[in-house]
């Protein structure tokens, strides 16, 4: 993966640690965060509700004529046992030495979205509380995007291009901190209710 990120960066594709999805109305969503933030469980949940999901972990941002787009690495959504249980799933393929169970979005009832134009940036975190969304300003979103695009701090020749891309993305999207609670699994349209 490191080599892939290194090479694609030279083509103007800059890595972000995030999940991507397209909702049934066609809006692009980017969920940025670390491996404990609930991205994979969210991606699987959205796929099971008919959304198109690109990736649960690795995306590449690229500037196009239409704005910043996020291109997904084609890979399975890898769920930890807790996420697998919460979703009430069966089947799947053992992954990461059996520690996770993996699904392609199509296996969950969704589709694969090779690329999306993000309109909504979500910074998720898992909580036992009620699911809620808090809007944040673009400048705060920019700082978060830098946080989840660690490669921006590497290779001086490419850092400014990467940083400018994150700035353009922060301007392009509406951004939210999203606290993920158990009610997410009970209310089918909670995401779009909280972030209309």
């Amino acid at each position: 993966m490191t080599v892939l990120i290194f090479l694609l960066r030279r083509a103007g594709w800059h890595h972000v640690h995030g999940a991507t999805a397209r909702d049934p109305t066609g809006r692009g969503w980017l969920f940025a965060g670390n491996s404990q933030s609930g991205k994979s469980t969210t991606a699987a949940l959205l796929a099971s509700r008919g959304w198109a999901v690109g990736t649960d972990d690795v995306a590449f941002l690229v500037q196009t004529d239409r704005g910043v787009e996020a291109v997904a690495q084609r890979a399975t959504i890898a769920l930890r046992p807790e996420g697998f249980a919460l979703l009430g799933l069966a089947g799947g393929t053992p992954a990461r030495g059996g520690q996770k169970t993996a699904f392609f979005p199509e296996e969950l009832g969704g589709a694969w979205a090779e690329r999306i134009a993000p309109q909504i940036l979500v910074l998720p975190r898992v909580s036992g509380d009620v699911t809620r969304a808090e809007p944040i300003r673009p400048r705060e979103a920019l700082a978060e995007l830098v946080r989840w695009s660690g490669w921006v701090l590497l290779e001086p020749a490419l850092a400014q291009e990467h940083l400018d891309l994150l700035n353009a993305l922060a301007r392009q999207v509406r951004s939210y901190r999203l606290t993920l609670g158990p009610d997410l699994f009970e209310r089918r349209d909670l995401f779009t209710e909280l972030i209309p």
Binding site: P138, R139, L153, L154
Partner: protein, 81 residues
């Protein structure tokens, strides 16, 4: 150092330490000026030329900014011969 501005504030990347900082608009102005060596007086002039502040206020702000930059390894202070 790499800078980008948004809504009057910004983010500064220091590639040497691999750290990033959220900075104010005036902080961005100072960092922009510091792409080349500057004296404290020159930094004060950057602030007084753009903001409605006294020289004393600008000196305090610039000094505090530089001291923070030195503590975090982003800036280096040298004596002017």
């Amino acid at each position: 150092m790499r800078l980008t501005a948004l809504e009057g504030e910004g983010v500064a990347l220091h590639l040497g330490t691999r750290r990033y900082y959220s900075v104010s608009e005036s902080g961005l102005d100072l960092l922009d000026a510091l792409t080349a060596p500057r004296t404290l007086e020159q930094l004060v002039a950057v602030l007084t030329s753009k903001y409605e502040v006294t020289v004393a206020q600008a000196t305090d702000s610039a000094r505090e900014f530089v001291e923070h930059g030195v503590r975090t390894g982003v800036l280096v202070v040298e004596e002017v011969p």
